[in-house]
């Protein structure tokens, strides 16, 4: 159990990279990129977890009564989830432009067009 979460994060990242490299559709490639992205959240939260810890929110917990998990990594992951979605939107907008200008969204055909 000690390293399983880290290994899962690594697996998600590598699987996402495989999808990116072998994708035949740019929209699919963007989807694979969001998979890669989610591996960082798993890694960050795994680093911050503490056995028997509770969420660092004191609306119903008396301060000092229980061990807490690390709030810093949670704050990092939280903002990135939302900001990452808008970056995904930007990438999808680029894909639409590619489709409009070149009439294809297959990366292989696109590199043939250029060469």
């Amino acid at each position: 159990m000690n390293t399983v979460p880290y290994l899962v994060a690594g697996w998600i990242f590598l699987v996402g990279c495989y999808g990116l490299a072998t994708s035949r559709h740019l929209v699919h490639a963007v989807g694979c990129l969001t998979v890669c992205q989610s591996s960082t959240y798993v890694l960050l939260l795994a680093v911050g977890y503490r056995d028997g810890g509770t969420a660092p929110v004191f609306s119903d917990v008396t301060p000092g009564s229980r061990p807490l998990v690390d709030p810093v990594v949670q704050a990092l992951a939280l903002t990135d989830v939302v900001v990452g979605a808008t970056v995904t939107a930007l990438l999808l907008a680029l894909v639409m432009q590619v489709a409009k200008r070149h009439g294809t969204v297959n990366p292989d055909e696109l590199s043939e067009l250029r060469g």
Partner: protein, 86 residues
């Protein structure tokens, strides 16, 4: 008990991430990504990160799949005129 729960949700996340890459049709992939978003939200809740879980739930299972579906529709619609479904 918590360990078992964490392990199950980790495996769920790994499986749905693999499925999201393996599904090659982008429209279907959007649905699998929604499942991945849900699995991630469950995992984050289990590791005591409700804030991150909440934002993952809103973004990963609603916003991103919706954006992908809309882009797929736009890309597919090029050249053919069709109406009807979203």
């Amino acid at each position: 008990m918590t360990d078992a729960l964490t392990l199950v949700s980790l495996l769920l996340v790994a499986a749905s991430a693999t499925a999201a890459v393996a599904v090659r049709d982008p429209a279907r992939q959007a649905l699998v990504l929604a499942v991945l978003g849900l699995a991630l939200a469950v995992l984050f809740t289990v590791v005591q990160a409700p804030d991150v879980g909440l934002s993952q739930l809103a973004v990963g299972s609603a916003l991103t799949p919706l954006l992908i579906l809309l882009s797929v529709r736009k890309v597919r619609r090029r050249g053919q005129h069709e109406g009807g479904d979203r």
